[in-house]
Symmetry: C2
Subunit: 254 residues, 2 copies
DNA sequence: CCTCTTATGTACGTTGCCGCACATTGTTGC
DNA sequence: GCAACAATGTGCGGCAACGTACATAAGAGG
């Protein structure tokens, strides 16, 4: 796990030259990009807005860590965040992935005092940050906010459940294809940045195993890649290669 | 999957000779055995009680099935219920287990329209049944009910997440030991009823694989078993054999 | 008691991934 | 352009679990 950075604890990320109005416009723009906040009635969002801080994040930044208290919760407007279970002996396995359809740290509204999985960004992106205590308060009082958050929590649950079965049943190649599809769905464009080393941590397999599987996909003309950058070439082909779990997750999640 | 029965759709399980008062006493007794209902203030429970119906279930009864609408939700007072993801090709993998600490069908309060996993009893037991719509209504209105249900949903999430990683990382023997411990925690006594065939469906491995692993545990003096009945002999020893995931689940769940 | 069924033990070749080690090839910084 | 590094390719022995098949053993029911 080389130089993973934690997010700056406070970082007033809106440049100080900006006016308050600019900042509020930022918040509203980002909020509309997130499915949960974007689904709120105008009035509710206005109430929440003062508590929301825009942030930017880079690849491989850590949002939450097992056993650390969850102080802030993040609503991504762009980018991807992986939820990863860490095991003794250093093995790590991604159990779910979230983009602008979700919220990182949802367990804090469910009564969790601390994180149990690592939340790690898979890409650059933007998000709105809110104090866990503030969110919890609104969550308890506003049915309009509660509904989409719970809906997301449910989608998360079934994604993790499908993952649990998938890890038991499917080959590295199938799971790699699935992972690429889920990532592609959450990023703009057909080209993104990952190393095999990173993928091996997500899939919980050897880096060498990723190399072989990726090579197979490349030779089949489904993807191309070189030194940390991957291009999706044949999405249909990938869908055919991926296990059922990709479709299951997509279809179960409303 | 031999003769799995669905629960009777209505079955007024309280014998008709019983009086209404008896029935209500039943409800209150069972409610106190369930951690979620048992945590409710007296007044709240009184309000909910008319909606609750006591039921009994036998081994291998199906509470919910993937894609079927979730009509009823169950608060177990005793017994165990497994949540199982079914994959194409007939492979099944248990992703979580619930006893009197939880509620079967929790996703219905989170906005799920239908089940995504199979909920199957692992033992005989008793539960309180409630219409999903009724529960949802109380859930939305009562913070006192919402809190413990969400807390349980969170525990469920981390159990499933740990399972996802566990399936990737640990041997059949380790996972069998873990599974026996989780089961033992939720049942009275040291002897319970399972066949290797059933266990193989839970662990998602061959029945022959269970045979070998179980034999190893027996020869190590940790368990004894014969034709569908298992006795726990050395709990400490099992804990030493099981993977970290047993402890992780226990310690994360508050 | 004897048959029938169900549960369990065991074997054998195969496969997917492991741990490990090392070669090769782009990129970056000087 | 060259050295240093980072990312990727590849080989090999080993092992856990697979699919399959069959043998044994313990109740159940007549």
């Amino acid at each position: 796990m080389p130089n993973n950075k934690k997010l700056p604890e406070d970082g007033n990320t809106s440049a100080s030259s900006r006016t308050a109005t600019d900042s509020k416009a930022d918040v509203m723009r980002l909020a509309r990009a997130n499915k949960i906040l974007g689904a709120l009635p105008e009035k509710e969002l206005e109430q929440l807005a003062p508590k929301l801080t825009p942030i930017e994040f880079k690849v491989e930044e850590i949002f939450h860590q097992p056993l650390d208290p969850i102080r802030d919760v993040y609503f991504p407007a762009s980018g991807i965040v992986s939820l990863i279970t860490l095991l003794e002996g250093g093995l790590s396995v991604e159990v779910a992935v979230t983009g602008s359809e979700g919220v990182v740290g949802v367990s804090s509204v469910m009564g969790a005092k601390f994180g149990t999985v690592e939340a790690l960004s898979q890409s650059d992106g933007q998000a709105l940050k809110i104090r866990a205590t503030d969110l919890r308060e609104h969550f308890d009082q506003s049915p309009a906010l509660r509904a989409p958050i719970l809906q997301y929590a449910h989608n998360l649950l079934i994604q993790v459940a499908q993952n649990a079965a998938c890890n038991r049943a499917h080959t590295v190649e199938q799971r790699l294809a699935r992972w690429l599809l889920l990532t592609h769905d959450r990023l703009d464009g057909d080209k993104f940045i990952f190393t095999q080393e990173f993928m091996s941590r997500m899939l919980g397999v050897r880096r060498a195993g990723v190399s072989v599987a990726a090579n197979t996909l490349r030779q089949a003309g489904l993807i191309d890649y070189s030194r940390g950058s991957i291009t999706m070439i044949d999405r249909k082909g990938l869908e055919a290669t991926a296990c059922e779990c990709y479709r299951a997750i997509e279809s179960y999640s409303v």
